[in-house]
């Protein structure tokens, strides 16, 4: 057992320092990350995973803190993961952490961690998935995944959640437009935050209109909740709707479906990444990869034909059909 794995029993026993240590190891994507996740995985699947997304400035962090306080009143323990796919540029996640540590972060029943991009986006999404599991295995009843923005990268991360909350504010014309264009489908709950600001009725009405145009998904009609996160207005209702959505997922069988879908996409990702690493490792060792890189760079051969040659020599054994997979990227 590696030194990293010795932290796993402590994690399962509820040791916060073990949790913090394991998150760091998993975040760094070192060789031990996989061994840890193998140990931890069977202790997961109990937490309710909530994703929160929305444009910058809608008050997501404040809302997460207020929702956490509300859930704590009901005796639930909460893990918060603040994910910032843009962070090479802002460093915002770290700052947010420090400020929050003075609020809900002082509560023993709450564990907050920020994750930022190190390297490429795929890695961040994988790290987030593993950190969710560590918090789940640690025993958190609820894990909240909060993203900094609402771009495509953030949406891919929010897809890890079981219940997704989309946050907007009055007067953010662009944002409502934005919701139209694609975010509508991912929202299980909608929040109009800063509901004391002018235009709140209009924002709610616009959302209602848009949602009325969308077919109900499996018997769940996404509710719209007005909140003022700063003073807690609307938070009891939001907490109640979050619980109602989990009940709905359980009763309708959609929780099991989501779980299957998550397992499927995760498995596909891991198989693809490792197959690539193996083949490229072999092609580097045989000298074929550097040779092909040089030929592609000199335009002697195109990258697709070069890839085919590498797969022919080092790839999975033939017999598998791949006609028409020009779209396999």
């Amino acid at each position: 057992m590696s030194s990293a794995q010795t932290n796993v029993p402590a994690l399962l026993a509820g040791d916060r320092r073990a949790l913090a240590r394991l998150i760091t190891i998993v975040e760094n994507r070192g060789p031990e990350a996989r061994a840890i996740m193998k140990e931890v995985y069977r202790h997961t699947g109990k937490a309710h995973l909530i994703g929160i997304t929305g444009s910058p400035g809608v008050g997501k962090s404040t809302l997460v803190d207020a929702l956490t306080a509300e859930l704590r009143k009901a005796g639930k323990t909460v893990g918060i993961i603040a994910v910032d796919p843009t962070s090479p540029f802002t460093g915002g996640a770290i700052l947010g952490d420090r400020i929050r540590m003075q609020g809900v972060g002082l509560d023993e029943g709450v564990f907050i961690r920020s994750l930022a991009t190190r390297g490429h986006l795929g890695g961040l999404s994988r790290a987030t998935s593993d950190v969710i599991r560590l918090m789940d295995a640690f025993g958190k009843d609820i894990v909240i995944i909060e993203t900094v923005g609402a771009g495509q990268a953030e949406v891919e991360i929010v897809k890890l959640a079981q219940t997704t909350i989309v946050v907007t504010v009055p007067g953010l014309g662009d944002d409502v437009q934005a919701i139209k264009a694609g975010i509508l489908e991912i929202g299980d709950l909608f929040v109009v935050n800063k509901a004391d600001h002018e235009g709140a009725d209009r924002a709610v009405n616009e959302l209602e209109l848009m949602l009325s145009l969308d077919p109900e998904q499996g018997g769940w009609r996404p509710p719209i909740v007005r909140t003022i996160a700063r003073d807690g207005t609307g938070l009891p209702e939001l907490a109640e709707k979050v619980g109602a959505h989990l009940d709905h997922l359980r009763e309708s069988g959609r929780l099991a479906e989501k779980n299957q879908a998550t397992s499927q996409s995760e498995l596909r990702e891991i198989v693809t990444a490792r197959a690539g690493a193996r083949i490229l490792g072999a092609a580097t060792a045989s000298g074929l990869l550097p040779e092909m890189v040089a030929r592609v760079a000199s335009r002697e051969v195109d990258p697709y034909s070069a890839a085919e040659e590498i797969l022919r020599r080092h790839g999975p054994t033939a017999g598998t059909d791949e006609t028409g997979d020009g779209s396999d990227d």
Copy 2:
């Protein structure tokens, strides 16, 4: 030869409609995309690829148009690719297209195309790479890749360029902070746009200070250019610096290095995606994938062990070493 490929000779002969048609096919990532790129690839490698990035609101589009006008004066033909990784949420790229069609877009020597996320980000980056090549093979002297924001997703796309311009504006404290945190390394040229606004001197000074702390990369010291894109101020200087950077890349041998690096990462991506598609196809056909998905979903087996089992049965033949590759995502 497929119907799609029949457009390739027309593309090479300079037919704009063939270019437009081929871009659409490549953007849709259909099975014909690969066949087209195989035909086109050997005609590429001639265009100078310029990437432009910076926070929203710094005037990137206006700057791109002004730079294009300047390059046209020097007789260069220009392709512009406006990439929006966040577009499921904004639809901004399309709007921008329509407006621009009334400006530089009316010039026969300019071809503008917007690309938005369809599906996941990896696909967008691949599509952008292929569209660059279509414009290159078409004969554009310069291809400008412009991103909507400056997040991690955008940076991955900008890495396709040979010369990267980072744009900021006076008074954007956050942005300068942002540049500190990671964007500094990717900039070959820095532009302080809206240089008639208050605080331009300070923005330039801050940039100069930051750049002075950074070691020079291979003898190139990134210049800082002040522009007012709206009226063309500073654009002759910017165009000159862009040309100087290309000269530097050529003379220092860094152009060949960049070309090698691009070929290498592209080849790795294609091999990985196709190896994954093949193995997952075989594992679906054999029933192993659905079986493993069910066992992962029920927590009977962890995703990493399940992936290993799939690779053992359908993966590349053994003998390749993969110790310590916990970080292969």
